[in-house]
Each structure stands twice: as C-alpha cells, then as structure tokens.
Symmetry: C3
Subunit: 343 residues, 3 copies
C-alpha cells in the first residue's frame, strides 16, 4: 500500500513537519530505511540512528522531532502511531470468501457466506464460522465450536468441541484450544481419568502465538478475556482465567485454576502454579516461578541471571552451606556475649 | 447421559444417603451446581461451599457426609469415585467406524474394520490401526506405525515410522511421537547427523497432552510404560524410559537417556538433564532442575518462589557476595582467636 | 543397507583391524549388538561393555582399539565416523518425485519435477519447492515461501509467507516458521498490533526439532545461519540471529532481537531475554536465564540442582534472611571494633 504523509497525519491526528504530498509505501528501521519508507523512534537507544536515516519520514515524539533530519510525524505515543500506520501500509492478507474444494465441511456446520475455509480444513457438525472469519489450511474445528466475526485461524489450528472464540482474534499455526485438562484421580492401581466437561471461552481481539495450548475446563470453562495476547508455546491449564489486556510472553505455563488479573505482563518462561490469584497490573519478570498469590499492582521476580559457571557453582555451594555460616555467626555472638560476661 | 443415584451407588459400591430414584444428568462444582447435577468434595478448601450447594447429590467421604445438605454418595476416595461417575454421565465421543472419503490410506495399511479414520488423515504403508481405534482429522500415521485397540489420536497428531502405541491411549492434538532425537556428532566443520534408528514404544492407558513431543531412540527405543500421563508441551528426549503410572505436568523436559521410575510425579516445567536415573515414587516440585540421579522415594526441589523484584534483586546480589561475608566471618573468628591469644 | 568393513574403511579413511570382507547391516549399542551389526565406543563410561560385545565391528579410537575383542575401525573421532557409517547403513527414506493426488498445489507455485509433495499438503501461489525437496503430509507452504534443494518438511509443518529455507535442511513435524513476532504497542485501551513485515531466512544444513517455532521479523528478517541445530519445542523470537553451527537444546526460548554467535551450545530450557548479544563459542548450561550479554568464549550458568525439598526450603529461607545475617556480622565487626576502643 502507499499513503501520503498528509493522509497519515490527518487520519491518525499527528503533527506533520514536511511535505504532505510525499509518499511512503513500507516501514523500515531507522538504519535500514530507504527513500519511500517510513520509520519510527520510540526507544531512546536507537536515537543515535536518527541523524543518518534515509527514511522519507519518521514517527517520533515532539522532543526527538527537533533532531529529525527528514519529515516527521509527531505523536504522543510514537510506537502505537507507527503500529497503526504500518497496518495501513502492510494490510493483513485478504482471504477470498468461500470453502476450498479440498476442505471437509459437515453439512450441519454453519459457515458464513463471506467466511474463508482453506484447503484441507475440517469443520464438524454444529460448528459456527462467523462473518469474514478465516479457517486456514489444515485447521480442524470440532463439533459445536464457534468462531466470531473476522477471526483467523492461520494454519493447522485445532479447536476442540464447543470452544468459543470472539471477534477479530488471530490464532497462529499449531495452536490447540480445548484439549482435555490434566485431570486424573489417583487410585489404587494408577489413575482414573476425570472427564473434562467444561469448555474454553475466548474474548474479542485476542492473539495467540504458534503452538500455544489452552485446555478446556474440568467442569466450568477456561476463560481468556478481551484483548489478551499470548505468545508462542504458552500453556494454559484448565479453569485458568486471564483478565482483559494481559500479555503472556513465550513459553509461559499457567497451571490449573489460577487466575491472572487485568493488564498483567508475564515475562517469558514464567511458571504459575495452580489455584493462585494474581491481581490486576502485576508484572512478573522472565523465568520466575509464581507459587503464591500476588497482589497487584506490583513487580515480582525469582529469575537468576547466568554468570560464569565456575563462579556460579561456588555460589550454589555457599548457599547450601549457609546454615554452617549462620551457626558460625551465632557462635561468635555467643562467645562475644561470654566475653562480655567475662568482663 | 442420565443415571439414578441408586444405579450409581450399586455400580460403584458407594453408600447412598438419599432418594435412590433421583436422577442426575451432569457434573458440576459445589457452587455452580443446579438440581439434576452431581458434585463432589475432595479438597477440604471447598468444604465451605457444601452447605449452600444445589446439587442433587454430592460424592464425598463419610466424615464430610455428616454436613451434606443434599443426597450423598459416600466413597473412601471421593475424587476417583466422582471421576468414574463423570465418565458415565459424560461419555467420550463415539466415532463411527470407517475411513472418511478425504483421508489418504495406503492400500498396504492395515486398518481395522471398526476403526475410525477422520477427514484429511494420512495412513502410510504397513501401518496398523487396531480395533475401535480413532485416527482423528489431519493426523499422520507413518510407515509401519502401530496403534492399539481403542486408542485415539485426536487431531493433527503425527506418528513417525515404526512407532508403537498400546491400547486405550489418548494422544491430544499436535502430539508428535517418534521424531528424530537430537543426535549430532561434532566434527571439524560443524556437526554430522547421527541417524536415529530406534523407535518409540508406548504402553497401554497412556494419555499425552497437546503439542507434547516424544523422540525416537538413537539406537534402542524410547519407552513410555503403561498408565503414564504426560501433560501438554512436554518434551521427552531419545532413549528416555518412563516407568508405569508416572505423571509429568506441563512443559516438563526430559533429556536423552534418562530414566524415570514408576509412580513418579514430576511438577510443571521441571527439567531433567540427560543420562540420569530417577527412582520409583519420586516427586519433583515444579520448576526444579534435576541434574543428578535421585533416589526414590523422596521429594526434591530447586524452584524459588517469586517475591517483589526490588527485594529479589538484593537477595541475588547478596548471594553473589556471600564469599565476602564468609571471609568477614573467618576474619572475626581469626581475630577473636587472635584476641584469645592476646589474652 | 549392507557394507563390508573394507568398503567402510576405504570410504571413511579408517584403519581396519579384522576381516575386510565381513559384512554389517545395522548399527547397535555395544551391549545389545549381535553379529552383523556395527557398534561404537566414544564415551569412556561405556568402555566396560567393550569386552563383551557381540558386534561384528566397533568404531573406536586407537587407544581403546587395543582392548577390542572383535574387528575394529579406528578413527580419530569415533562418534563422527560412526555417524557417517550409520548414514550408509540406515539411509534416510527416499520419497518418490511427484505431487500426491490429495495435495493442494496452487498453479502459480513452482514445484521441482523431482520434488515430493505428500498427501494433504498445501502449497500456495508463488511458493518454490526446490530439487528433491520433500513437503511431507499435512504441511502448509504459504505464498512466496522458498524451500531449497534436498530440504525436507516431515509432516504438518507450516511455513508462513515469504519464509526462505536453504538446502539439505530437515524440519520435523509441527514446526512453525514465520508466525508473527510478539509485537504490540501499548496504548490507552489495550494494545495495537504491530504488523510483522519481516521474514525468516534459514541457511543450509539446518535441522529443526518437532514443534519448534521461529517467528518472522518485525521489520528486518529473523536469521538462522548454516548448520544450526534446534531441538524440539524451541522458541525463537522475532529478529533473533543465530550464528552458524550453534546448537540449541530442547525447550530453549530466545526473546526478540537477541543475537547468538557461532558454535554456541545452549542447554535445555535456557531462556535468553531480548536485545542481548551472546558471543561466539559460548556454552550456557541447562536451565539458566541469560539476562545480560555474554562474551565468548565462555561457559555460563544459573541453574540450581534439585535437592530434598525440606532442605531446599530452608536454603531459600536462609537466602531471604541473608540481610539479617549481614547485619549481624556488621554488628560483630562494629562491637569488636568498640571492644578495641574499650581496650
């Protein structure tokens, strides 16, 4: 797509310094930009690339704009403004309405006339595919699952029976929604499977990364509220609830029946044990284990930065013998006390 | 499904207090139960919901039954009894025998007449699909793989060449069994691929969660014994052996050639390094790293609970300078000793 | 396949002690070997099995060869030599050229005449499938993606739009290359999606394990250089660059815009936070968190080995109250100082 700087300024309410008729056709980083591209500056660490940029225009804040050598589009939140412009210049692919000849759609499925069902996809009886929704190649939509308007399953996505997705969601390839939660009752000779009879409800504007899994509830539903973003390879256990606009980075695991509040930010590879409550506006830094409920707002951690292995091994050994050190200090305190008595 | 309390009491050997003719049609939690549903009480933390439940009946132990405001089904192990009843009220879906027209089944594959092969599935030459087994949509069963009776691949599951599954297993969507183990011989100019010529053998009554992977053996087989339960996104390396009735929670990784005993419980996101032995009846709590062999029975940990970030950073800094603290204590001890000598 | 010891010695430049006409048809471990198989000894811990082996021949180094009770093939690097011989005895499966009748190949895709496209696969417009490449069953190759010569997608692999793979790569089942990176700009009412307009470039001789995900770049490309090996369930964020011949074990996560050098070895479940640089020849041991740039060469760690839970809990509690211990030591030092003054 192409747009003039003037059009972009008007459409997104930005202050333009430069030629309103200049055209841009793509986005670029400050350092790799060529004429005809639009770049942005949101992170101060990239400010040093501003002076040399060959972009036609840069989206930035008022303070940085004073140093901009090319046209500038000034925004209070340059990254969000850039994101909106990038959506104009690089629109999501459009999928033609209709069901591909190689797809298998059950006659009792309800597929909107303007929805797209890609090659090799499977849609079972009772499933509903909403207006302009897209069921990508190789995806499987089981019995009675519901897909809201404008939602897209990219490829090889699986929705189990009865799962409900809101509108404008994106589920990347390999996502599995609604598999059985991990429920087994220990008994004398092993485990008895506990049927997982709940489902999964996912709100509007949710994006779910590749190969992420969200289990169905044991009895009640697992719930992902509006605007939640899950990165790749995230695992959400049964009966978890994730509040609106929370963001979970890659490889996070949330165990069954835990609740995460609204607007939380959970760093990569964090593990949340089961049956906990994390409040609103909680941030957990990467590689932490959450094993108690956490009040919000707040920032929590337990990850340890890697250091040279030889040094690290000594630190672990010292941690193990802390008890000995504590006893030595107690001895010193006692003897000193004894010394006092001697005095 | 529907059942009377009397039928359930007789079938599962439970003591009924209440109307044997009362019917239930579904399970529910104590707090969300409505008339016509059956609930259970196994975890004392939910006891407070018992008095107000609207369930028609509750499965619980004899002690709790004294407080039950509705019909009770008394069991020594209420959770296992509930699980068995839930299987009656919510039976697993039945798949009609036959091969879907869109599936690709090689003429030299051996598919039982009463097995189900779903849409878009692929079954290669020499593969065996046992009685009443179910190969779900989009699944791929490669050459010479074997699927036991009543085993189900839900959807988009991949079994590599020669993999053997027992009876009554469930493999959730996105599971990959038998991909090459991670075997590369370092050489001057990079790595030489080591062909992975072993296979994978999986016992009876094994359940494997969504997007879990189990690699084939390098030379001998990778083995998962009867009754093992693997949660979602678990990774099992080549030549691992997991003993009967062990349970591995989500996101666990087990590196090559390690052995896990029988009846072990491995918590979420635990990592097991290669070439170790974990004994029978070992529990490892979530987010721990197992880097030495562990004797069973026993409970092992190395996960650290997250705390407020500011406090945590100080704790890590103190751990790093423990050496200094040890030296200060040694100095105190020495000086005191010196003091003694001075005295 | 079968080969004589003489052929193998000549082909791989090995010194043979034994009958050059003796034949081997398969590889085996020292302890499970039977006549007609070839084994190897590379790890000293298996030396004890050498005396009793029934292999027809063993690949080993000159020192160990003195104890070999059967024919020996002496190599400076026995594991690499064994790997090469195993490739001869157990060749990778050959896939017949041609497009399976159930595959969906867009007329504007460019599929080499000698490439293989398996059942239920999907190849979109503009995609290029190189000579002898193999697109396995259920795989999806989106618009304009490119697959180099002799590269194989095993099954249910997804390549997003414009992704480029080099030659002789293997992508195991469930791999997803080129899904959107995790880019969302926070704004007043939630997040604005940042279109991910970069792609993924993967070099030659790269192997990628089952269910691993590599995200497309936000603006520039994500890059995996020649000879890199990624194990199962690895997650690579947008704009990461991984240098040639680096090896990442299972469940590793690398966050966006980080760079890993050449010949690095990253242990299982390691997490690398974003925007870091790891130098060449860096080893990170399993279960570590990399949160600062690491110089190479070097070995780094932060994983803690699991111990008995009761003992571990005390160690964590002591770590938490280290501040108190530090204060007690400071008091001792001060009081002693005071004592001095008293003296």
């Amino acid at each position: 797509m192409r747009a003039t700087l003037g059009e972009l300024a008007v459409r997104f309410g930005l202050e333009l310094a430069g030629d309103p008729g200049a055209e841009v056709t793509a986005v670029a980083t400050l350092s790799s930009a060529r004429p005809g591209t639009l770049s942005f500056l949101a992170n101060p660490r990239y400010r040093r690339f501003l002076a040399g940029t060959q972009a036609t225009a840069v989206v930035l804040d008022a303070e940085a704009a004073t140093d901009c050598p090319v046209a500038s589009l000034v925004a209070a939140n340059p990254y969000a403004a850039f994101a909106r412009i990038a959506q104009v210049l690089h629109p999501a692919p459009v999928h033609e309405p209709g069901v591909h000849a190689s797809a298998t759609v059950h006659p009792e499925a309800d597929v909107s006339a303007d929805a797209h069902v890609g090659p090799q996809a499977v849609i079972e009886a009772g499933a509903v595919v909403g207006p302009r929704a897209c069921v990508g190649p190789g995806s499987v939509v089981m019995r009675d699952a519901q897909i809201g308007a404008d939602t897209r399953l990219v490829a090889n996505v699986v929705l189990y029976r009865g799962v409900r997705l809101g509108e404008r969601c994106v589920l990347h390839s390999g996502v599995v929604i609604g598999a059985d939660g991990f429920g087994f009752a220990p008994d004398r000779d092993g485990f008895v499977k506990v049927p997982q009879v709940g489902s999964v409800r996912i709100g509007h504007d949710v994006e779910i990364g590749a190969n992420t899994t969200v289990d169905r509830g044991a009895i009640d539903d697992t719930v992902i509220e509006d605007g939640v973003k899950l990165d790749n390879q995230v695992q959400i256990g049964h009966n978890v609830r994730i509040g609106a606009h929370s963001v979970l980075a890659g490889c996070v695991g949330v165990s069954g029946s835990s609740t995460i509040g609204r607007r939380c930010m959970i760093g990569g590879a964090v593990g949340v044990v089961g049956h906990l409550e994390i409040g609103d506006d909680v941030m957990v830094t990467g590689y932490s284990m959450v094993s108690r409920s956490l009040k919000g707002p707040g920032v929590y951690s337990s990850g340890i930065p890697a250091i040279e292995t030889a040094e690290w091994r000594k630190a672990v050994a010292r941690l193990r013998r802390l008890e000995v050190l504590e006893r030595r200090v107690a001895t010193l305190e006692g003897k000193r006390g004894g010394g006092k008595r001697e005095a």
